[in-house]
């Protein structure tokens, strides 16, 4: 791809609030258009520099195109992007503070849902042990938040290493995530009933390690395809 031609396309697409896949499609199609115009100018005998300038001029004003593109994004797609931005702060490789922000947001959402459900059950069921269950649910939400923070922090780094083909580091990251997940399961058993010290608690925590490790690897592998396509665009510096 030609960097000079990517810039007007990115200027038109970057300000649009839409899902990553939708924006990727916009980039691909607009880039295809501008590059074809560039090639047609080259075929007419223009120099590379003149062909680039001509193609950029024919493309139009990027802010005006961005405004038109914005109108084509359905509301649900825009909201899901805004929610995604709120949770993950739009960061592909988050800092620790951003990862904690993600964890706190998810803990709050999950905690509110679980405690709301608990309150509902306490209202409709007589002799419902609301307090004890609220403590368990609170612990569950907090553990989920810690996992989400670490998962978010590690995922960006794992994907980067995957793209750089540093497979040993990728595996190490995934195992680290698996270990934290397994420890969380163990902690849940311990906090819920003390069953952790029984054989079944150990077994379930041990089983969680390979499951969480493989899932983390699979998710990062899938995400790496999208990141590889987005990266050349998002790394462009626009003035």
């Amino acid at each position: 791809m030609i960097r000079e031609l990517m810039i007007p396309v990115e200027k038109a697409v970057r300000p649009v609030c839409a899902s990553q896949s939708r924006k990727l499609r916009m980039r691909e199609e607009l880039y295809s258009l501008i590059e074809e115009r560039y090639r047609s100018f080259l075929a007419e005998g223009l120099s590379e520099a003149d062909a680039q300038q001509g193609a950029i001029a024919a493309f139009g004003d990027p802010p005006a195109i961005a405004a038109e593109l914005r109108k084509t994004v359905p509301a649900w797609n825009r909201w899901s992007r805004q929610f995604d931005n709120f949770l993950f702060a739009g960061a592909f490789e988050p800092t620790i503070a951003l990862a904690i922000h993600t964890g706190l947001c998810l803990t709050t959402i999950m905690g509110a849902w679980l405690l709301g459900m608990n309150l509902f059950l306490a209202l409709i069921k007589p002799n419902y042990p609301a307090l004890a269950i609220a403590v368990t649910f609170g612990t569950l939400a907090a553990i989920f938040g810690v996992n989400a923070s670490l998962g978010h922090w590690l995922a960006g780094r794992t994907i980067k290493k995957l793209l750089a083909r540093h497979y040993a580091t990728v595996l190490l990251h995934a195992i680290l995530f698996g270990l934290v997940f397994a420890a969380s399961i163990a902690l849940l058993y311990l906090s819920a009933s003390g069953e952790f010290f029984l054989r079944s608690g150990w077994m379930k925590a041990a089983m969680a390690l390979p499951v969480a490790t493989s899932m983390d690897l699979f998710i990062c592998w899938l995400a790496s395809f999208e990141v590889a396509q987005r990266e050349p665009w998002e790394s462009l510096e626009l003035d």
């Binding site: 258009l33 024919a58 195109i65």
Partner: protein, 116 residues
């Protein structure tokens, strides 16, 4: 030399023009732009990047559908999506043509200053 027709003058009719191009053949964005340019004898000064917002609107309304173009051997450049008119799009185009002819007839009569 005749003056060119700029974006603002075309706005509002671009969707019908794109449908009309697609009525003749399935096409990707650049082919549509070129076709519009050829049919307008070079007088249609369309900003090319505005074609995709129009295509996305038409696609959302179900008037056109898009598919990836099969990769041709020896073709340079990125993959392209080819747009195709749907049955609903054909109906819309017919309505657009009728509406346009009516508009031209009325405005033409007034602008030409012909007696009513």
């Amino acid at each position: 030399m005749p003056q060119g027709i700029h974006g603002d003058q075309v706005r509002g009719h671009l969707e019908t023009m794109v449908l009309s191009v697609l009525d003749q053949q399935d096409a990707h964005g650049f082919q549509i732009v070129k076709q519009l340019d050829d049919m307008g004898c070079g007088l249609l000064r369309l900003k090319e990047g505005t074609i995709y917002p129009v295509l996305y609107r038409l696609e959302q309304s179900g008037l056109v559908k898009a598919r990836w173009e099969p990769v041709e051997e020896g073709r340079r450049g990125p993959p392209r999506r080819v747009y195709q008119l749907t049955r609903k799009g054909r109906g819309k185009l017919q309505a657009g043509r009728e509406s346009w002819l009516k508009f031209v007839d009325i405005v033409g009569t007034i602008v030409a200053g012909a007696p009513a």
